[in-house]
Symmetry: C2
Subunit: 401 residues, 2 copies
């Protein structure tokens, strides 16, 4: 019998209780013993809730109880979650969490602290919700040399982009419907500006590089500039538009960024639609491996937290090791990344565009006129920006993958 505590009885925290209640036999089979939820920490009381009797308001009750082996931090945010996690690890308790913000900000430090205390720090649910990608990266493909990781890491933006594509609708109207349906927050900035995807990209980049990639070092663009005309062009090119978190190792340099990409039809990410997430990992032996599933949602995310609990219980007395040192990673400036771009300029700028981009391939789309659209040759981000500034009259651009 292993006893655990949940910090924060919100969506994910109550989901953890629900998964343990519903799949208790399967959880016990997987862990090799029963797992009991002994405490729930929350500021609130939950009268009438099935678990109201185990709700406590003081973290020390949990930290001082030697029976509690694993703490699931599902509060979110930096504080007090960070302080609670540190105290738990220092008290010799393993921690697992869905808190992407905290893992992105302090993950490597918390892994280090866990190692020092011979306990574990796991965070499967922080990337891709229920998708079992992080454990697989650590257990099944860690012996690969990874060339790239590219992921659709935010369900809200993927839902919006999919709707814009299928219904030929513009961004604002789709966002409004998504908000009404509860798929997007009232304040959607964290999703649509790419900040959420950036946190998850930082976590993936850190695991891929083995060092701490700070989210502040990741160039990030959201999807607010994507128009319905862009989708017409994407269809014409046989491509899909996806917000990707991208980590890449090229010529010994490490790149990371978040931005909308026009993804080729032969890339499996191009067909990931709606609220689903997917992460494509390219290894030097394996080639492409993609993990696909629900990137959010109460039960799916909670199931990933429970998987971490099980892993910890199975490895009691042992630190589950990550290839992740708490030293800053060298992230190359995005300026030096090289790729193709899809560009739209005013029709009047066609000659200037062809002068700046001699290898440009024109693209046309049904129902779009008064402009000149093209795909550039492979060019550095820096050179591209310089040419674009000289050009003027630019209606927009999207990177190609």
């Amino acid at each position: 019998m292993a006893k655990i505590a949940v910090l924060g009885y919100g969506t994910v925290g109550s989901g953890v209780a629900y998964v343990l209640d519903t799949n208790g036999a399967q959880v016990a089979d997987s862990a090799g013993e029963d797992i009991e939820l002994k405490y729930i920490l929350d500021l609130r009381d939950f009268p009438g809730d099935k678990h109201e009797s185990i709700v406590v308001h003081d973290i020390d009750v949990i930290l001082n109880d030697p029976e509690v082996e694993v703490i699931c931090e599902t509060m979110g945010g930096i504080e007090p979650a960070f302080t609670f996690e540190k105290k738990a690890l220092e008290a010799g308790k393993s921690v697992c969490t869905s808190n992407k913000e905290l893992v992105a900000a302090h993950g490597p430090e918390l892994v280090e602290l866990a190692k020092k205390n011979n306990v574990s720090y796991l965070f499967e649910a922080s990337v891709g919700g229920g998708i079992p990608v992080l454990r697989s990266m650590n257990d099944s493909i860690r012996h690969e040399r990874l060339d790239s990781i590219r992921g659709i890491l935010n369900g809200t933006t993927n839902y919006i982009l999919t709707k814009m594509d299928k219904e030929k609708a513009d961004f604002d109207s789709v966002l409004k419907v998504a908000q009404e349906k509860g798929y997007a927050e009232r304040n959607p900035e964290a999703d649509i500006e790419g900040h959420d995807a950036c946190r998850k990209t930082a976590i993936l980049a850190s695991i891929m590089s083995g060092q701490f990639v700070k989210h502040e070092d990741i160039y990030t663009e959201g999807i607010t500039k994507i128009s319905s005309e862009d989708f017409e062009y994407a269809r014409s090119l046989g491509r899909a538009i996806k917000l990707l978190g991208s980590c890449e190792r090229k010529n010994g340099k490490f790149f990371a960024m978040v931005a909308p990409f026009m993804v080729g039809a032969d890339n499996p990410l191009s067909t990931v639609n709606g609220v689903f997430n997917a992460i494509d990992v390219h290894g030097n032996m394996l080639g492409d491996v993609m993990y696909y599933g629900k990137g959010a949602g109460k039960e799916a995310t909670a199931s990933a937290v429970v998987a971490d609990v099980i892993d910890i219980v199975k490895h009691r007395g042992k630190h589950i090791d990550w290839n992740l040192r708490n030293v800053p990673a060298q992230v190359e400036s995005n300026e030096n990344a090289e790729r193709q771009f899809f560009v739209r300029v005013d029709a009047s700028a066609k000659d200037a565009a062809l002068a700046q981009f001699p290898g440009a391939q024109e693209v046309t789309a049904s129902g779009v006129s008064g402009e000149f659209a093209f795909v550039t040759e492979v060019i550095s981000e820096k050179a591209f920006e310089e040419k674009l500034t000289l050009l003027g009259n630019v209606k927009g651009y999207i990177r190609l993958l």
Copy 2:
């Protein structure tokens, strides 16, 4: 330092040596220690090969060497692989294998033997080649109640079906090209009749049910009856035709089968093309999770074998447990499975078809005439077969998913 042996220096066996040679540092990081290939067992010599000095012809050299902890059986076939694996496990050595034929035939018995000897029996590479699906099923989602597993498990047939679809070509001509290019065997029966997919489905079904599902108990159809007209209808229905291995738990009954299915566009399996494989698992908390990657190939398959070696070395002295008992599973007869069918009959049989299938929905396809095609309502396989027999003039049918 852990020492291992490879049995069989063919495609996968030499791939294991290649992965260890190429990614030695990453393998050591992942395992926590160096892994050395001490012996290769093969009937042949390999003069000039990098590893010729460690080739042995006598299995006892390996079995009697207490330094050898892990044996990778990459010979394929039932014998002598089965005998060698049993002897290895009895000698206290863990075994990992890519041998799907043997795992399908004797996997539960070998897991049992491994447990008895406190060593491990792993077989990641036996399903989906390099796709890290089995360990994930055992480590990350074993606490889910799985409703279904559906997989594209054979790259050759998926390549053929993809070519037939994209190039509007018929089966025979695509098979011929596939054989010329080496994507299909000269004797392609094991692939195109579904036998290979059946072995892998048996392994997945056993893990899902926790009991031994024999491949003989799995109803299996290949792809030889699929025509270019079928693809016209599938396009008209917005569906893809895929050879699926399917395991399903419904109303307490367990079903398993291999057959071509018309897969809806909203199912992620519908977009898995070419030689790629994918396995979609549906859990009661997680919903759909899909694993995608190379289902075959020297390096990818060998990488999965090496992942097993690493897992074993990390868990030295401990049996890695599967939820898989060596007792026969109760597999429900396919007759009782219920689903929709797409059916084509001669035009003259239209009235008879509508009489037999009153809820039939007609389907038309460009360039196909002289026949009546329709989709049935949900019906049992048994009732469907009976009606079909009464009908006569049937040109073909494909199940819907």
